[in-house]
């Protein structure tokens, strides 16, 4: 079942706009995640799709039909709440079957479906227990079962994993992905956890302060973020933002760190005409976005690279996060934050060690200093437009 949001808005009587005009097309069977920080409007949008809140403007189409004013009861949309919202006075079996009972499904069918769901989600042993007797993970699976058993057109999930501990969250995440691959129900998923979004989604929609900022596949969002906000939100550790000055050097983009006279020789790459034209407009002082895995931390002597000092080494098991600061007046970060690079834990580094930084030409992004919007993206060793 397809889902379309057309200029959907939610304004509160106080004037506050929780959702500022969202346009969205979700394909049949797609797993679409609304990702963003707390208060960005993603849950409100989800609730408008469910019908629990009415949009103050705009339309919602399910399967091509206008469902904007339809009661949630009649939308054939199932939702898993962040708090699970299981009926505490009913057994798991009754929780699962309530919807089917209300819709007057035959009891034989209800029994069959409950068995099926119990097998799928491994909750057979829990059927006669009440929610109060279950653990968090078990309740979560029952909540999922309650939504699945209805075979809805659209599946909505509001941060269903946020109450689980890390290991359980990762396991359930994988199960959810497998479930979606099997059932192929259109799913709208809301979360603030970018790792969840990257793992589970076919496409992600990033929201901030009521606006839908960027929509794309996980890889697109990661490689080609539209703005500093998107780049910083996705990817851990966070992307590094470095102040740079750029110049056209015979058709190649020369990038210079502040305080440095020569451009970085590791990133002297061609750019298209349109890019140079855009640069002409946005000026030459930009912000370079470098992912931690694209920062090379070099020991030994590399006078061509930028000098830096190690502030902290964070061991992460297979890799180490190296927290660095530029030294010798060369290079500065846009927000004053230290740089973070990632190295394998086979190499060893120490606090206070003097090293050299090389920027690898992988997934680099140049942002406009004033607006934070992306000017150009490095793709296959060439600077392109977004």
């Amino acid at each position: 079942m397809t889902l379309r949001l057309q200029n959907v808005q939610k304004a509160y009587p106080s004037g506050f706009m929780a959702v500022k005009g969202v346009d969205l097309d979700v394909e049949d069977g797609e797993f679409f995640t609304l990702l963003g920080p707390s208060g960005c409007g993603k849950t409100t949008t989800l609730r408008m799709i469910a019908g629990l809140e009415a949009p103050t403007a705009g339309k919602i189409f399910i399967g091509g039909n206008d469902f904007t004013d339809t009661h949630p009861r009649d939308r054939d949309v199932a939702m898993v709440f962040q708090s699970y919202a299981l009926y505490p006075h009913m057994t798991v079996r009754e929780n699962l079957g309530l919807n089917l009972e209300i819709k007057h499904v035959a009891s034989a069918e209800i029994v069959a479906r409950i068995q099926n769901i119990a097998r799928m989600l491994d909750i057979g042993a829990l059927l006669d227990k009440k929610p109060g007797e279950l653990s968090g993970g078990q309740r979560q699976r029952v909540a999922l079962g309650r939504a699945l058993i209805r075979r809805p057109n659209i599946f909505l999930m509001d941060e269903p994993l946020s109450n689980l501990d890390l290991k359980l969250r990762e396991r359930t995440r994988t199960e959810l992905k497998k479930l979606h691959e099997t059932l192929k129900v259109t799913t709208i998923y809301v979360t603030h956890d970018q790792a969840e979004a990257l793992v589970l989604s076919n496409r992600i929609g990033i929201m901030d302060s009521g606006d839908l900022i960027q929509v794309g596949t996980p890889q697109e969002i990661y490689d080609r973020p539209k703005s500093v906000f998107v780049a910083r939100f996705v990817g851990t550790p966070s992307i590094n933002l470095v102040n740079v000055v750029v110049q056209n050097l015979n058709g190649r983009l020369a990038i210079r760190l502040t305080g440095d006279e020569k451009p970085l020789d590791s990133v002297l790459l061609p750019a298209s005409e349109e890019v140079f034209r855009k640069l002409g407009q946005s000026g030459l002082e930009l912000i370079l976005g470098v992912r931690p895995e694209a920062i090379g931390v070099l020991t030994g002597l590399h006078p061509d690279a930028a000098p830096a000092e190690i502030d902290l080494v964070e061991p992460m098991g297979s890799v180490n996060n190296i927290v660095l600061r530029f030294t010798n007046g060369v290079g500065s970060t846009a927000d004053g934050e230290p740089l973070i690079g990632v190295v394998t834990s086979n190499e060893s580094h120490e606090r206070g060690q003097k090293v050299w930084i090389r920027v690898r030409p992988e997934r680099l992004v140049l942002f406009d200093k004033a607006t934070g919007h992306t000017v150009t993206v490095l793709s296959k060793e060439r600077w392109e437009e977004l």
Binding site: A78, F81, A85, L86, Y87, P88, L98, K130, G132, L134
Partner: protein
């Protein structure tokens, strides 16, 4: 291994020690003794009344209090033969239960509307409803008598039930509003998505979950109605007299019928004990545990 099994499989001297410390241990500290004394002080009148109700009249009127005697049911028998207590008891029971039932039904619905539906000025309405309770009943006792006389409601069940519902509803609504506010909205939203109508949600989801609140409100309403004296005195005469009014009748111009009075008091307390005992099972902590994390 349960605690029982752990205890019985341990060596003998350990077993004795475990048995000794199982359950609450009473240590004679000053605080504990003081507590026992105070409780005893408060319970004594209750004990004395129960005792008195079983005493023959001669021993009741004795100058020195008697604690050992041959108990008799004479007082109880007189209640039911001479004072038509069976009917009085029936009156009280019917009036109290019907009032309680009507109050609960109306209060739950009204409180649900206040708690859930976006009523403009909801807080003001709620406070105004509560303020109705501030009215001293005695201020309206006589006006009600006059009106009830015109409406032929004097000395009827209906007459008293209407009054009790009117007086208890405000506080019941206030209590239920609080209890309903504690029911997670997400439960009802999940039920909405499951396809239930609003009434179905109230009946099948909200009421079972808020049952502890309903039980508390019911206990409160029942006790108030059961013990009410003033309005019952004003508005009943012979046919629908209630227990409290009848008990007052035992204080007569020349004598106080202690024996019958005590028996009547004992009987009056029993239904309240039963109602509270039955309903307190529903006040189970954590009724909503497990619904919402």
């Amino acid at each position: 291994m349960t605690a029982q099994q752990a205890i019985s499989s341990a060596p003998a001297h350990d077993r004795a020690a475990a048995q000794a410390t199982k359950g609450l241990s009473f240590r004679p500290t000053l605080g504990n003794i003081g507590a026992v004394f105070v409780v005893g002080l408060w319970l004594f009148p209750v004990y004395w009344i129960a005792l008195t109700s079983l005493k023959p009249i001669v021993e009741i009127n004795n100058a020195v209090p008697i604690f050992i005697f041959t108990p008799t049911l004479e007082n109880y028998r007189e209640l039911f033969t001479k004072f038509d207590f069976a009917r009085v008891l029936m009156n009280s029971l019917v009036i109290a239960f019907v009032s309680c039932f009507v109050v609960i039904v109306l209060a739950v619905l009204a409180a649900y509307a206040l708690a859930r539906m976006k009523v403009p000025g909801e807080k003001h309405i709620a406070l105004w409803i509560l303020s109705l309770r501030f009215l001293p009943p005695i201020a309206v006792a006589i006006p009600f008598y006059i009106q009830w006389q015109d409406l032929n409601l004097l000395d009827t069940y209906a007459g008293l039930i209407i009054i009790y519902v009117a007086f208890n509803l405000p506080f019941a609504i206030w209590m239920m509003r609080g209890f309903l506010a504690d029911v997670p909205v997400a439960l009802e939203e999940a039920a909405l998505l499951d396809g239930l109508t609003r009434l179905q949600i109230i009946r099948r989801i909200v009421v079972p979950v808020v049952m502890p609140g309903i039980a508390s409100t019911a206990i409160f309403t029942f006790v108030f109605t059961w013990n009410e004296y003033l309005m019952a005195l004003m508005l009943t005469a012979f046919k629908s007299v209630t227990v409290p009014v009848t008990i007052a009748k035992f204080v007569q111009p020349y004598t106080i019928l202690w024996g019958q009075l005590s028996a009547a008091v004992v009987i009056q307390v029993v239904p309240m004990l039963i109602v509270v005992f039955l309903l307190q099972r529903h006040i189970v902590r954590g009724m909503t545990l497990g619904a919402v994390k």
